[in-house]
């Protein structure tokens, strides 16, 4: 199968009992672009993310992922070892709460280096050097490499999680409200960091958020979800400046101006 997209979701439907969380969703993501998914709580955006990353199995529809060597895999019927291998190498998942993505009883350096060891790196010096370099990259002083994450502030923990996720230079990252629990002043730094790294490493990113401000600054494209459907999509400015669907208009007009 030939495809240019890095990930391609076709006609994906997922329901929980009577509740349809995602209904016939079709979505393509190309290398190097940031796609934002917005919508209120319960609109199905997190379910979509979990289906796309293989954590949930959809009721119907397909999710195709293309690796570097143009090898295409269907995530819906991939074996667990293959899925976990993807998670270690080509993908990463950045959680809203850094505690969900970090090992809290392992030092910062160990957290960052873990993926390297998981893919077979057995040279302590190299692993440590890479971990220190990534700490600096996410603007944490590398002298803190041996501290536990619990010594860090929420914003630093989130940056640590980003370093841990990106050290193997994945091709695709999924982010679920990456700045959700953070102070606004910290949020800005994280957004800048994500944007820079995504550009530098030419990563494709799918970011789920309810914050239109985050989407405006970060995403190239945006999809608006409501009740399990994509009601509108387009270039971010397009959707936010000239919303066509009633729900998007409501969403945009509800932003509080400061």
């Amino acid at each position: 199968m030939n495809m240019n997209e890095i990930i391609k979701i076709t006609n994906l439907t997922k329901s929980f009992g009577n509740i349809i969380a995602c209904s016939s969703i079709t979505l393509e993501v190309y290398p190097g672009e940031i796609v934002g998914i917005v919508g209120e709580s319960g609109s199905g955006k997190t379910t979509l993310l979990k289906c796309a990353s293989g954590l949930y199995k959809p009721d119907s529809g397909e999710v195709f992922f293309r690796s570097d060597d143009n090898y295409v895999q269907n995530i819906c019927n991939i074996s667990e070892p293959d899925l976990r291998q993807l998670m270690r190498t080509d993908w990463s998942f950045i959680h809203q709460n850094p505690r969900d993505g970090l090992r809290m009883n392992i030092s910062a350096g160990g957290n960052i280096g873990e993926k390297l060891m998981a893919i077979g790196n057995r040279h302590y010096g190299n692993i440590r050097e890479a971990a220190a370099a990534w700490l600096e990259k996410v603007e944490i002083d590398s002298s803190r490499i041996d501290e536990l994450p619990s010594n860090f502030s929420g914003g630093m923990q989130q940056r640590l999680q980003i370093a841990r996720c990106l050290i193997t230079e994945p091709k695709l990252i999924y982010m679920d409200e990456p700045t959700g629990g953070l102070d606004v002043s910290v949020q800005a730094k994280i957004l800048d960091l994500i944007k820079k790294l995504v550009e530098e490493l030419n990563i494709a990113a799918v970011i789920v958020t309810h914050d239109l401000g985050v989407v405006r600054l970060l995403a190239d494209r945006v999809l608006v979800m409501k009740d399990g459907h994509i009601v509108e999509q387009g270039i971010t400015d397009q959707v936010l400046d000239d919303p066509h669907h009633a729900y998007t208009q409501l969403l945009v007009s509800s932003i509080i101006q400061v």
Binding site: S185, D192, R221, I235, D241, D242, A246, Q249, L250
Partner: protein
């Protein structure tokens, strides 16, 4: 070359009793290479709406918009993003940036994004910021706390540092003093000499007289 063919645009406002507002009907317009066309008309007449349609921000209700013979209302989003990133600069009156990112980074990132080396981008950014009279001590600060005029110049710098063949200028000089207006006009002149196609909105008649090749009153499109 930018061509607008039979463009109509109306807004439907669902949050306000589904009111329908028609802004334009059957607009036809051609802007040639190296030409600077200025839109005129009183506030609310739709100058910005028309510009944003050309940038692909607003979708026309009808008609087509050709940039370099490519109909940007019909292409897929990735191609539109590519055109925006590599061909077309848009300078609005407002600066929109990630908070707490330094001025220097904002301006140089535009070039780095297009593939320039970091040192090279920083050097060009310094030159442009110098030219636009942004004090060096501000370069490492976020522009969000700067004065309106400074913000506007940084907005100009971050776009004009890239040599796009198309520029859309939405009152880039609105809050600048005369000295800085002259500098911006110098930059625009330079773009024109390089064959850049420009559509602009300038409230100041003097500026229009100085750089516009043609003026079009958008009220004629109603």
């Amino acid at each position: 070359m930018i061509e607008l063919k039979d463009i109509s645009k109306s807004f439907r406002l669902y949050t306000q009793n589904s009111a329908k507002i028609t802004v334009f009907k059957d607009v036809n317009l051609t802007v040639n290479r190296g030409e600077l066309v200025a839109f005129t008309g009183k506030s609310g007449s739709g100058k910005t709406t028309l510009m944003k349609m050309i940038y692909g921000n607003y979708l026309p209700s009808k008609g087509s918009i050709l940039v370099d013979k490519t109909d940007i209302t019909k292409i897929n989003l990735q191609d539109l993003i590519r055109i925006r990133n590599h061909k077309m600069g848009y300078i609005s009156q407002f600066l929109r940036v990630i908070p707490r990112v330094s001025t220097m980074n904002i301006v140089s990132d535009s070039l780095i994004k297009l593939g320039s080396e970091k040192e090279d981008a920083l050097a060009q950014a310094s030159e442009l910021l110098n030219f636009l009279d942004i004090p060096r001590k501000l370069w490492n600060l976020s522009p969000l706390t700067f004065s309106g005029g400074e913000q506007q110049r940084i907005n100009i710098a971050r776009a004009m540092i890239c040599n796009y063949p198309y520029f859309l200028l939405d009152e880039p000089t609105a809050s600048l003093d005369n000295k800085n207006i002259e500098k911006v006009i110098t930059l625009i002149d330079k773009l024109k000499k390089n064959g850049c196609t420009i559509i602009g909105i300038f409230h100041d008649e003097m500026i229009r007289n100085e750089i516009a090749d043609r003026e079009i009153d958008v009220n004629s499109f109603k």
